[in-house]
């Protein structure tokens, strides 16, 4: 059995006196694809943001590979080199062209020479099927195109793991498919992925495990088939009946 790539042990997270995460235990192996779902405010974003230290956890321990996430800047940098992230609101840098968006972190963080960074950028833009947009600015692209650029930007850093925080929630319905296609391709290639999403079709076909969260806790964790067809917990059943009737 291979060692887990991500290990969260008894993790708590507080915002002031409000407890956003309670006793989270989660292990993710290399190549595993996890979908996290749950009602709004249940702590899904907070959980994955703890994995790349956009939020600091208060209790418990988080390991990414060999590195434990602590206050040590060195460890945080090391973790962020291994973990990419895709946001609901794309967050492309508005003052840079698409190709610059993909080059900047390669150059600054990985110290890759400009020409090589551009080459890598174009390679991944081609993979997400929009190489012709390279010299445009983010505002000139549709939401679906922007999100594909954001995925390509994360891929340029050659991460071991990619975190997705509701990557399709801000998109018009006709653009959701193109982004999910890119994510499905990634999953097939063996990328380790944690996706917060309510796209149940994606979860069914791609996920190795589905995690249901409510009120800051992991309530249920199961293979997709079992999760959707035979949920055990009452809260899971209620949630599923709500989103599946939509």
């Amino acid at each position: 059995m291979t060692e887990a790539l991500i290990r969260m042990q008894n993790v708590d997270k507080f915002f002031g006196s409000f407890q956003a995460l309670t006793n989270i235990n989660l292990e993710v192996k290399k190549g595993e694809r996890i979908v996290i779902c749950g009602p709004s405010g249940s702590g899904k974003s907070t959980l994955i943001r703890c994995i790349n230290r956009l939020e600091e956890h208060n209790n418990g321990r988080i390991f990414i590979g060999e590195n434990e996430l602590t206050d040590k800047v060195k460890n945080i940098d090391a973790v962020r080199r291994e973990v990419g992230m895709v946001f609901q609101s794309f967050n492309l840098f508005p003052h840079m062209t698409i190709v610059k968006n993909l080059m900047i972190a390669q150059q600054l963080v990985r110290k890759i020479p400009k020409a090589e960074a551009r080459e890598t950028a174009m390679k991944y833009l081609t993979r997400v099927k929009i190489p012709e947009q390279a010299e445009k600015y983010p505002v000139q692209l549709s939401g679906g195109q922007q999100q594909r650029v954001a995925i390509a930007r994360a891929l340029c850093m050659k991460p071991e793991i990619i975190l997705f925080d509701e990557p399709t929630s801000a998109l018009d319905p006709e653009m959701i498919g193109e982004v999910l296609d890119v994510m499905t391709d990634l999953a097939k290639e063996g990328m380790t992925m944690i996706c917060v999403t309510h796209e149940m079709g994606f979860a069914r076909s791609v996920a190795d495990r589905v995690i249901f969260m409510d009120e800051g806790e992991i309530v249920e964790e199961a293979k997709p088939q079992e999760f959707f067809d035979n949920p055990k917990n009452e809260r899971t059943k209620k949630f599923l009946s709500q989103i599946l009737t939509h």
Partner: protein, 195 residues
């Protein structure tokens, strides 16, 4: 009273020389003011009270008092102090031009610093989080993400301040420094009153 057109004509070269001084004043104090503004901004953003407080006091004082008062204090007030006259700054502060530059730079520096801070605070947190997630360090985020986005956000307010600065340069004429408007005021009464 005869209206002497030749007087207007004769004074054109002096007024043009005045324009030169106005532009020098503006350009120099805009430049020095910007440097000061950035320093003040960094002090305020440092998160250390011993940097942030002095900057805040400075900004409060220079934004809270009229520019004319600041010019007068620097030109008429500072030379009263012995140590100022003995300091290495005296060659600058002795000249009206130097005093005007100092006053205008300090004043515009305080205003522009607040404008820049507004720009920095206006930068969407999402961009910075994306940069963090990509592994950029704090100073890299500041240079490559915050600064260019904040500069664009601050530009309209900055251009307003630049116009205020232009107007303020005319106040510098009150300390005998004759820029464009200053020369005209000097020329007019001598002719009208004594002709």
């Amino acid at each position: 009273m005869n209206f002497d057109l030749t007087l207007i004509w004769d004074s054109v070269p002096r007024m043009l020389a005045g324009i030169g001084i106005t532009f020098q004043l503006m350009a120099l104090s805009a430049f020095l003011g910007m440097i000061l503004a950035v320093i003040l901004l960094l002090m305020r953003l440092s998160g250390k009270w011993y940097w942030s407080w002095p900057a805040q006091v400075f900004i409060y004082v220079f934004r809270g008092t009229p520019i004319l008062v600041q010019i007068f204090i620097i030109y008429y007030g500072l030379p009263q102090l012995d140590f100022v006259r003995e300091s290495i700054l005296w060659p600058i502060l002795r000249e009206p031009f130097g005093c005007a530059i100092v006053a205008l730079s300090l004043n515009t520096g305080a205003y522009v610093s607040e404008i820049l801070r507004g720009g920095v605070l206006g930068v969407d947190r999402g961009f910075l989080e994306a940069a963090s997630a990509l592994g950029l360090k704090a100073h890299q985020k500041f240079i490559y993400i915050t600064t260019p986005i904040a500069a664009r956000l601050a530009l309209p307010a900055y251009s307003n301040d630049f116009i205020s600065l232009m107007k303020a340069t005319s106040l510098a004429s009150t300390i005998t420094l004759m820029d464009m408007t200053g020369w005209r005021r000097l020329l007019r009464p001598t002719r009208y009153l004594f002709h």
